[in-house]
C-alpha cells in the first residue's frame, strides 16, 4: 500500500508545481469584491473572493471590526453591493458610533444600502438541549432578500459558537452557515477573535477547521516593538488567486484601514516629466543643470546645523512663488519656529502660510510607528493637495520603533510621491557619532532618492564652514565641485571654493585668498604701467639721438661736398695757371696735352 501512495504523490507533485509557476504573477480574477482598502486590494489582486467566504482572524483590538465594516461601506457606496453587518458581540449602535470618526457617512448608508443585525445572546438566556441557527439563517434570508444584499459580515462569530454544546454542533452550524452563503453567492466575511498563540497553532484550535473551509484567510496582529505599536496583516490563504504572502504593516488612519503594500506595480510607471523646478538657490540650479526634476525625490543629508532646513525652506519658498501648494512637515521644531528661523536668512514663508499656499505641520507631537507617520503625511498631503512636500528630517522615523519597517516606509513614501508627481524633499540627519563617511543615512533612502545633496562642515583654520556637494542626481549632468554654502540676510548663496594644494579653501581663508589675489593684481598693474612709461622715455631718447645723428650726417655730407668742390676748383686753378704760364713763356706747341 505505501508504494501506491508514493506513486500517487510523485504523479501529483509535478502538476502542482506547474500550477504554482503559472500562478506566480498576480493574476487578476474577475470575480473579486473590491474592498476599497488602500493596499489590501493590491496584495490580494483585487479584493475578497466574490461570492465566497473569507475568514478574518485577529486578537483583541487588532482592527477586525473596522476592516469588516470598511469592506461593507465600500461595497455599498462604490460597488452597488448592499451589505449586512451581523453583530454578535458589540451592539450595532456602538459600532456605528465608534466608526463615526472615519467619515463613512454611515447614517446615510444605513437607509438603504447598509444594514445592521444585532444578534447578541442575552445574558440571562437559558439553554436546554440541542439548538441550531435556523432562526438566524431564516432572518438573514428575509433580510438579504429585502435589501438585495451581496456582502455580509459576521462579526465575532465565536461569541455564539461557544454557546453550542459540543464540537460537532459547532462544526455543523458553521457548515450550515457556509452552505447558505455559498448557495446565495454572498461575499461573506467572518471574523474570529484569537490571540497570537492561536494563530500559530491554527489547525489544532477550536475553530481550526474553518480555515480549511473558507476560501480566504486574513490574519491581523497587533504587537508592540520597542514601545511602538505595530499592526500587521497577512493573507494566509486565498484559493484560486495569487497574493502577496508577506506580513504587511497597516494602520487605522483617519479614513479607515490602510495596508502598506510594498509593491504597487501599477504605480511604478507613473508619468515621468523632464520639467525642472527651481531648488530655490540659483547656483544650485546651475549645478544641477536647471534644478530638480518635477516629481523627483531629493535627499539632503548632513549633520545638525549644516543648513538642511534652510535649504529645504528655500525650496518651499521657490515652490510657493510659483504658486504650487506645499506641505512642510517638521519633526524638529514648531512650524512658527521654522518660519522665524528661516526669516533670518531672508526666506519669508509667513506670507504663503497666510495665503494658504504653504502648510506647516509640526510633527513633533505625532507619536507612533513610521507607518503612522507615513499615513498621516499622506493624508495631510492629500488634504492640502500638495505638489511639493518637505519632510524635515525624515531620519526621525528610524528612531521610532522598528528600523526595518522605517526603511520600507521611506521607500513607500518615495513610491507614493512619485506616483502622484509630488516633488519630495527629505532631509536626513547624520549622526555625529556615526562614521564621517558621507551618506551613512540610517534609512538607506539615498539608494532610491533621485538627487542626493550632502552638506558638510569643513573645519579649517579655526572655522567651520558649510560645504555643499551633489553626490548623485539621476538623469542630470551635475557639477562635481564642492561649493561653499553661505547664509546671509538676503538668502542662501553658493560660492566657488578655492582649491589650494589639494585642499578646499572656505570662509575666511577663501576671503584672504581672494584679497591677496586682488592686491597682487593691483601691484602687477602698476608695475606694467611703470614699465610702459619707462619704455616710452627710452623710445623718445632714442628718437632724439637719431635726429641729432641725422643732423650730424647732413653736416658731414655738406662738409664733404664742400671739400670736393674746393679741391676741384683748386685743380682748375692750377691747370689754368700752368697754361697761362706756358702761354706767357711761349713754350712749344708740340708739348703733349696733360689731359
Amino acid at each position: 500500500m505505501p508504494v501506491v501512495i508514493a506513486e500517487a504523490e510523485s504523479i501529483m507533485l509535478p502538476t502542482r508545481k506547474k500550477m504554482k509557476s503559472v500562478r506566480s504573477p498576480l493574476i487578476k480574477v474577475s470575480t473579486k469584491a473590491p474592498t476599497g482598502i488602500a493596499g489590501f486590494d493590491e496584495i490580494t489582486g483585487g479584493g475578497l473572493p466574490h461570492g465566497r467566504t473569507t475568514l478574518l482572524v485577529g486578537g483583541p483590538g487588532s482592527g477586525k471590526t473596522v476592516l469588516a465594516l470598511q469592506i461593507l461601506v465600500h461595497g455599498a457606496r462604490e460597488c452597488k453591493e448592499p451589505g449586512i453587518f451581523v453583530a454578535f458581540e458589540e451592539n450595532s449602535k456602538r459600532i456605528v458610533a465608534n466608526a463615526e470618526s472615519f467619515g463613512w457617512k454611515l447614517a446615510e448608508l444605513q437607509r438603504k444600502k447598509l444594514f445592521f443585525m444585532d444578534i447578541q445572546p442575552m445574558p440571562d438566556l437559558v439553554q436546554s438541549g440541542d439548538f441550531d441557527f435556523g432562526g438566524m439563517l431564516a432572518a438573514l434570508e428575509a433580510k438579504s432578500k429585502e435589501t438585495k444584499a451581496r456582502r455580509i459580515v459576521f462579526d465575532a462569530l465565536d461569541v455564539i459558537l461557544t454557546l453550542l454544546p459540543d464540537e460537532a454542533a459547532r462544526r455543523r452550524e458553521i457548515y450550515r452557515l457556509h452552505e447558505w452563503l455559498l448557495a446565495r453567492e454572498l461575499t461573506g466575511l467572518i471574523t474570529l477573535k484569537a490571540d497570537a498563540g492561536y494563530i500559530n497553532a491554527m489547525s489544532q484550535s477550536p475553530f481550526g477547521f474553518m480555515h480549511f473551509m473558507v476560501d480566504c484567510t486574513v490574519l491581523l496582529s497587533h504587537s508592540v516593538i520597542l514601545g511602538v505599536s505595530q499592526r500587521n496583516m497577512r493573507v494566509q490563504k486565498y484559493r484560486g488567486s495569487s497574493f502577496d504572502e508577506d506580513e504587511l504593516p497597516f494602520v487605522i488612519g483617519k479614513n479607515g484601514l490602510e495596508v502598506a503594500a510594498a509593491h504597487t506595480p501599477s504605480r511604478v510607471d507613473a508619468e515621468v516629466t523632464s520639467e525642472r523646478i527651481s531648488s530655490g538657490v540659483e547656483r544650485l540650479d546651475t549645478m544641477l543643470g536647471g534644478g530638480y526634476y518635477r516629481g523627483a525625490s531629493v535627499l539632503i543629508t548632513g549633520f545638525s546645523g549644516t543648513a538642511k532646513t534652510t535649504l529645504s525652506g528655500a525650496f518651499a519658498d521657490a515652490a510657493c512663488q510659483r504658486g504650487e501648494r506645499t506641505l512642510f512637515v517638521s519633526f524638529d521644531s514648531d512650524g512658527s519656529e521654522v518660519i522665524r528661523n528661516l526669516a533670518s536668512v531672508g526666506i519669508r514663508l509667513d506670507r504663503y502660510v497666510k495665503s494658504g499656499c504653504l502648510r506647516m505641520i509640526s510633527a513633533r507631537t505625532i507619536t507612533g510607528s513610521a507607518e503612522t507617520f507615513l499615513v498621516r503625511i499622506k493624508t495631510l498631503a492629500n488634504e492640502h493637495r500638495a505638489r511639493c512636500l518637505v519632510i524635515d528630517p525624515v531620519s526621525t522615523w528610524s528612531k521610532a520603533g522598528n528600523a526595518l519597517t522605517a526603511r520600507s516606509v521611506a521607500e513607500r513614501l518615495i513610491d507614493w510621491s512619485k506616483a502622484g508627481g509630488t516633488t519630495l524633499i527629505c532631509t536626513s540627519l547624520l549622526d555625529e557619532m556615526s562614521s564621517q563617511s558621507e551618506g551613512s543615512s540610517s534609512l538607506q533612502i539615498s539608494k532610491i532618492a533621485d538627487t542626493w545633496i550632502h552638506l558638510n562642515y569643513l573645519l579649517q583654520a579655526g572655522e567651520r564652514n558649510r560645504g555643499l556637494s551633489i553626490i548623485k542626481s539621476r538623469g542630470t549632468a551635475h557639477s562635481n565641485q564642492v561649493r561653499e554654502l553661505i547664509l546671509s540676510d538676503s538668502g542662501v548663496t553658493l560660492t566657488d571654493t578655492y582649491t589650494a594644494g589639494g585642499e578646499v579653501l572656505m570662509g575666511a581663508l577663501r576671503w584672504q585668498k581672494e584679497r591677496a589675489d586682488r592686491v597682487a593684481n593691483e601691484v602687477n598693474e602698476v608695475a606694467a604701467k611703470l614699465k610702459r612709461v619707462r619704455l616710452d622715455a627710452e623710445e623718445a631718447e632714442l628718437e632724439v639721438q637719431v635726429k641729432s645723428l641725422q643732423t650730424e650726417l647732413l653736416a658731414k655730407q655738406v662738409e664733404k661736398d664742400l671739400l670736393v668742390r674746393t679741391t676741384e676748383s683748386r685743380k682748375g686753378e692750377i691747370s689754368q695757371g700752368l697754361t697761362r704760364m706756358e702761354e706767357l713763356r711761349g713754350a712749344d706747341a708740340t708739348k703733349p696735352d696733360p689731359k
Binding site: 437559558v126 436546554s128 438541549g129 440541542d130 441557527f133 435556523g134 432562526g135 429585502e146
Partner: protein, 107 residues
Amino acid sequence: MQQSPIRNELTMTPQIIFKFRLYVAGDAPNSTQALANLIALCRAHLPDRHEIEIVDVFREPKRALIDGIFMTPTLVKLAPSPVRIIVGSLSQTQTVLHALNLEADSL
C-alpha cells in the same frame, strides 16, 4: 392554542395562565422535539392553563427578524412576567421547570 381560563375551586385563587411562544425551524428534529417536550410539560404541570403559539421561522422569517430570534428552537414565556427565554429542545426538564419557576408548583 388551547384556552382554558378556569378557576381552581380548591384554593379560590385566580389561575395564572402561561402564555408561550415557540419558534421552530420547519420540521428540524430539535424543533419537533422541543414542541413535543413543551406539550408534555404543559400537560404535566400546567393542565388547562397554558397557551402555546408556534412560529415557524422559515415561513415567517420577518417575524424572527423583528423578534430577534436567531437560535431555534426558542421558547419564550410571555406571561406571567418576567419574560423568560429558553433555547434548545427543552430536553432537560428540570432546567426548563427551574427557568419557568414551576419547581414549587410541581406535583
